[in-house]
Each structure stands twice: as structure tokens, then as C-alpha cells.
């Protein structure tokens, strides 16, 4: 039975690795300027974690195979070098891996969070609410008008609570149900939740950030490939959480400008 167990462990280990190696269910393709840093970090980690996984499972299996049916008079043997060797190996192997992953991984994180957006990045606000995203472009004045929570009225289409009568900055704001951005232009996204915790996750864009009620955050990104990509909520926000979705439309500069004009006309 021990030998069967050892073989099973090895088969499971190899079987588990096959879908990864064969890319049977791959990560969505990257369409962002800095996403390759995350992908490279992921690939390095997969290599190191994969080797650790396979080697330790196989070693476990070999020792189970070899030492499970000893002769009655067999003597117990000690691993060469004893615990000292294993402790040193643990520190060196994992310690090196930890330092390498930690240091190199910080670069990808830093590009996303420690680098400020370019001065000409396009400002767009996204508001999350049960169970939809709405977007706001500041219009020609480049300023977002203030939000008045008491004016929010979904039936009237005033999702943000704007006072377009009295607030000068709100008058040219453009509110949309999906976000369009020009390709290869940086976007500075201002994130606002009007009710609960939500999240803004676009796998292809390598962007993932929670909305925090009471704490407006910003992120920035540059999409490099024209297309329509799904935005999904990943922060449990109630019964319609699974259906909380919107689309990111990456357009050419010309198409983007045309679209924005059309949206302005619809306000």
C-alpha cells in the first residue's frame, strides 16, 4: 500500500502541473503598459514554486516507498548531516527565494503604486454602487463638480448627486455607464464608492483595486490594445455582486474623441 501511495503522490504532483505547463486555462492576455512586470514576476514565482512543489512531493513519495517495509532487524538510520543540514537548506533555499521574490516583486508593485501619473493623464472618475459602475469625465473645464449625496436620484439618472444648476464645475461633466479610453494614453482613475466596499478588476489590464467608502483612492494605467474588456467587482457587495459588471472600451484616439462628443451631447 505504501508503494501505491508513493506512486499516487507522484502522479498527483505531475498531473497537477500539466494544466499549468500546458496553459490549459491561461491568465488573460496582458493589454497594459506595465502588466508585463507582473507577468514576469508571476512566471518566476511559478518556476520556483513549481520546482519546490514537485521536488518535495517526489522526495516525500520516494522516502515513503523506500522506508515503509523495513526488515524486522533493520536499524534506524539518520539523514546525513541531520537537522542541521535541513535547517541550513531551508534558510538558504527559501531565504534566497524570499529575498529574490520580495525585491524583484516590489518593482512591479512600485510601478503601479509609487509612480505618479503623467501630468497629461486623462482624469476619469468611477463610482461603484450596488450593483453597477458609473463613470464621469470632467468635460472641457477639466474639473469634476462636487458630489451631493442628498441629490442622488437613480430614477432621474443623477447617479453621482450632481447639482448641474448651481455648481459651475458640474455643468460640463459627462456621466456614462461604460468607460472608454484612448489606446496608449495614460488614464488617471479617481475611485469613489457611494455605498459599500466594491472592487475594480480588469484582468487584462493588470489592475485591481478596492473601493473604500469614505476614502477616495486613485490608480493609473495605460491600455495598449484596442478592444472591449470586462470590468468586474471582486468585493462581496450583496446579492447582485456576481452581476456587477461594466466594460472598458479601448479605442483609437479619433474614435475616443468622437465617442466623448456623442456622450456629451446625450447629457
Amino acid at each position: 500500500m505504501a508503494k501505491l501511495f508513493a506512486v499516487t503522490i507522484i502522479l498527483i504532483a505531475i498531473g497537477s502541473a500539466i494544466p499549468i505547463v500546458m496553459h490549459m486555462w491561461p491568465m488573460p492576455a496582458d493589454i497594459s503598459l506595465n502588466g508585463h512586470l507582473i507577468d514576469e514576476q508571476y512566471a518566476d514565482t511559478m518556476m520556483e514554486a513549481g520546482l519546490a512543489f514537485l521536488s518535495s512531493q517526489i522526495l516525500l513519495a520516494i522516502f515513503i516507498w523506500k522506508f515503509s517495509h523495513p526488515k524486522p532487524d533493520a536499524k534506524v538510520k539518520y539523514f546525513p548531516g541531520g537537522a542541521r543540514v535541513l535547517v541550513i537548506a531551508g534558510f538558504l533555499l527559501v531565504g534566497t527565494e524570499v529575498v529574490a521574490l520580495g525585491v524583484f516583486g516590489a518593482k512591479a508593485w512600485g510601478m503601479a503604486y509609487f509612480t505618479p501619473p503623467a501630468a497629461d493623464a486623462i482624469p476619469i472618475q468611477v463610482q461603484a454602487q450596488q450593483f453597477a459602475f458609473y463613470f464621469r469625465y470632467p468635460g472641457p473645464d477639466g474639473k469634476f463638480g462636487p458630489i451631493h449625496p442628498n441629490l442622488i436620484d437613480d430614477a432621474e439618472g443623477n447617479y453621482f448627486g450632481l447639482d448641474t444648476t448651481n455648481d459651475q464645475d458640474s455643468k460640463d461633466d459627462i456621466v456614462t455607464a461604460e468607460i472608454a479610453v484612448p489606446v496608449n494614453r495614460e488614464v488617471h482613475l479617481f475611485m469613489h464608492s457611494r455605498d459599500l466596499g466594491h472592487s475594480f478588476y480588469v484582468p487584462e489590464l493588470r489592475v485591481h483595486q478596492d473601493f473604500v467608502p469614505g476614502l477616495d483612492l486613485t490608480i493609473h494605467f495605460t491600455a495598449t490594445k484596442i478592444g472591449r474588456y470586462e470590468i468586474v467587482c471582486t468585493q462581496l457587495c450583496g446579492l447582485g455582486h456576481y452581476a456587477m459588471t461594466a466594460y472598458l472600451d479601448v479605442k483609437s484616439q479619433e474614435d475616443y474623441e468622437t465617442w466623448l462628443k456623442q456622450q456629451a451631447a446625450l447629457q
Binding site: T8, W25, M27, A108, G238
Partner: protein, 592 residues
Amino acid sequence: MHEVSAHAAHGAPTSFIRKYIFSLDHKVIGKQYYALALVAVFVGMFLSWLMRLHLGFANYAIPGLHLLSKTGAPGNVMTPEYYLQLMTMHGTIMVFFVLTTAPFAAFGNFFLPIQVGAEDMPFPHFNMMSFWVTFVAFLVLISSFFVGDGPTLAGWTQYAPLSAVGSVAGPGQGLGEILWASSIAIFCVGQLLGSLNFITTTLDMRTKGMSLMRMPLTSWAWFITSLMGLTAFAVLMPACILLILDHVAGTSFFIASNLVISGQLLHHSGGSTLLWQHLFWFFGHPEVYIAIVPGMGIVSHVLITNMRRPLLSHRVIIACMTSIGVLSYMVYGHHMFVSGMNPASSLAFSFPTLIITIPATIIVLIWIGSLYGSKLRINAASLFALGFISMFISGGVSGFFLAQPSIDIMLHATYFVVGHFHLVMAVAAIFGIFAGTYFWFPKMTGHMMNETLGKLHFWLTFVGAYCIFMPFHYLGIAANVRRYQAFTDPYLIPLIPVHKFITVAALATGAAQFIFLYNLVHSRFWGAAAPDNPWEGTSLEWSTATPPPHNNFGDKMPVVYHDPYEYNIEGASSEYVMQTSPEQYTNPHEEK
């Protein structure tokens, strides 16, 4: 270390109620915890079956489901909110009432006093309260199925403000939510009382000769776990009380200003959404180790007995488990990388998270290295202990990904996380519980379990668990978001066949657990009589009668002369030497 006789011992009870219900005996309390965990695990597993049927086969009508909830399952088809309610209850029941109670409170209660040579725990009334308070917490939680609009749907992590604003946020967020927070606050009281007893037992109740380093690794694991429990539950309990106050007293601890929910402008102001996450995960990450460290102890204990040799280093294992306990408080922020917490904090939490893999890896290397040259006995207990190691490795390596904030951008809140924590803390911990059960059942009940059924149970569970939880990682890599009741997004639809496979595997693996249940119940009443030391172990639980008498050791308290694991020592008169044996010899492998 004190003379045990100096402690006030309670006499053997005579009435049924004091003997079996409100018992002060740590062994009965341990069994009560085990029974509670057993009920809880089958409830939790049943909920997971319902969830998996719903996920694998969209809009599948589950016969009889409307009997559980008319509004949650009209026409026997689960509503989106009912799915989330079942998911929340599954997570809560499993984490609190199974993974915390069984390896720590159940086995720890029964065996810690015996392994250190004590007559009982120092505060038997606290111990009895600990169980009954936990039992009440379970009833309070379960009651939420039957009142108002059902249990909370906010997930076992109960993120604010969804958990704090009341029924305006959705079904179950009113009374169901208050019941959840009350249940967990009560649960915390029980665990605090238990932890106090465990710590005092370890420090103050050890018998003559039982130095700290002579304690078995299980006792060390329970001791370290109780220290973690004392600090972690002491934070979660007030957090739950603050959450209840936000509901009933108009406070705003976790609710920010100017929130508009379901068209209503809330009158709360000034609270912090992230405060809940910090308080919860300050408890939540040590909780992961509260679930798994006792398993590490049990696996070490079971393996050593079945390898017929001590681990390569007793002290290194203790040092590593202690390091894990200390580091567990410095890593909790890795649950919050994309939460809106300062991005610099994410890096600060990332490094300890990566570093905690060093003691965990060393423990695994010591286990594997100790197999080398051993005389391994294969039985149901040792199979589950070895299965634990395999699961712990598989679940552990995915931690390398989630420890890095940059990769977490892709994997956070996906099924990758679900696969990771189920393997490393849930399945591994449950394998530890199974190993402990097959190993200690004879001592606890006086009967042997059926080995053939035990091995069959192992095979089905080992292969089944991998079939369920390994594909979760593939789904996560493909960006399959967790906590969705249906996969309607275009990019998720190609992944549905994987969900179907997981559902079938979950149903089959769950069904295999009834073999265990049958074996447990049948053996309890009709199993062969167990000898005092069926596995030829050396620690104190094997030097007393089976089952142990009321005061554990009869007329004479044990005196300890040896380390806990003296197997195959050259110069000793037998293959194994009990801790209580006065035989003198020199152990060439003794750690100095």
C-alpha cells in the same frame, strides 16, 4: 513545575448530568468538543454540497431545498442571496466550529493534561463553561437560518460596511448579521477561557520530571496555539461588539459618512471601513495558524510513533512552531494588499509573509528528512499524517504567489485564494484531525477503529481533495472571481466545465466521509477492545489505562525520566522506552 497533588482535584461525578453533560472532566469536555465539531463539519459539508451543485449546474433544482428556506429556494432553485448566505455559513461553521474546535479544543482538552501528567486542567469550571459557551455560540449561529430573512450574506470575513449598515444592504444583514456577530463574540469568550486553561496547564500542572522540553510536540503545539488564541480572540471579540453596536446603538465604528444605499442617505458618519479589516485580519491570520499548528503537532506525534524514531530535531520543530506563532501577527496585511491600505504597508506585510515560509519549510524538511532511514508503519493514522504533509506542501507553495502584492493584483479574490487556503489550512487541518482520530480513538473510547475502512476513507479523501482543490488554482489563474453565485460573464463561461468537475469531485469526496462516520460510530460501540498502548507509543497517554480513569493516572501520578520519543535507542533494553520508565542509558542522539 509543581507537585500535581498540590492542586485541588474534583471527585468523580456520580450523576448522569455531572458525568456526561455539565462535566468538569477535561476528557469528557474534549469529547464534547469533538462531537460538536463532528456535527458542525457535516453541516458545513452539506452546505458546500448545495453550493457546489448550484455552481456546477446553474439553476439546478435541488430536491427538498425549499424545506430549508421558502424564500431562499423557491421551486428548489437557490436565489443569489441564498447562495451567499449558505457560503457565509459554510465558511463560518468550518473555520470556527470545526478547524478551531477539533484539533485544538477537542484533542487538546483530552490529551494535554494527560501528556503533561496532570489530573485535570487547573480551572475545571472555566473549562466546562468554555465548551457550553461554544455550544451556545453554535446554536446562535444556526438559529439565523430560521429567523427573519435568514443568515448574513457578507461572507465569513464580514467586511464592513456591508456587515454594519443593516438590512438596507440586503437580506440577512439585519437580524442575521447581529446573530452572526453575537455568535462569534460568544465563541471568542469560550476560546479565551479554553486558552487560559491550556496555558496554565502547560506552565503549572506538569508532573515530576516533565520539563518543557520533555513535552510531546502535540502539547507544544497546543501551548503555542493557546497563546495565539488568547491574543487573537481578544481582538475579534471587541470587534464583534463594535459591529453589533453599529447595528443597535446608532454608532458608526465601521460606517463612513454620506453613504447612499438602496436610495437612502444613511445618518452614520465618521467611521472607518478599513478598521474592520485590520481588526478582523489581526485575528484572522493567527486563526489560520490556530487551525494548522495543532495539526503540525498531531502529524509529528503520529508520524514519530509510526516511524519508530524521533524527528531529526525536537527543538527545531518547537522553534519553528513558535516562530510561526510570533510571525503570524506580522503578516495579516497580506489579505489587504488591494484594500486601499497604504501601498507601502503592503510591502511591509509582504516580507514577513514570505519569511514565515522559512519555518514552515524547515518543519516540512524535518518531517521528510526524518522519514529517511525510518521504519515506517502504514496505517490509517500514518496515511493521514503523510497526506497532511502532501497537502501542506501543495497549499503552501501557492502562498509564494499570494505573499507578493504585485501578483496579488491578479490573484486577489479569485479561486486561486480559495484553492490555497482550502488546501493549506482546511484540508491539511482536517487530515490532522483524521490522523488524530485514528490514532487516539482507542485511548478515548477503549475501542479500536476498523483499519480497512480507515484506509478506504483515506484513499477516497486524499484523491478526492486534490480533485476538488487543485483545479481551484487553475480557475484563479484564469481570473475566476470567488463569491459569485453564477458565472454569467463571457470570460467565465469557458471555465464552467471545470466547475462541473469540481462539483462531482466534491459530492463523491463528501460521500466518502460517511465511511468515516460509520466507522466512528460502529467502532465506538462494537469495535474490538483496545489495549493500553496499541501503537507502542512512549508518551504519557500510553502509560495509563484505556480509557483513562477519572483522575487520569489512578492512584499514582507518573514520574517522567525520558524525552517523549525514545524509539530504537542503542543501549536501551527494548525498541521503545516509555517516558515513565526508570531505565537508565545514554542516548547518543539526545539534543543538548
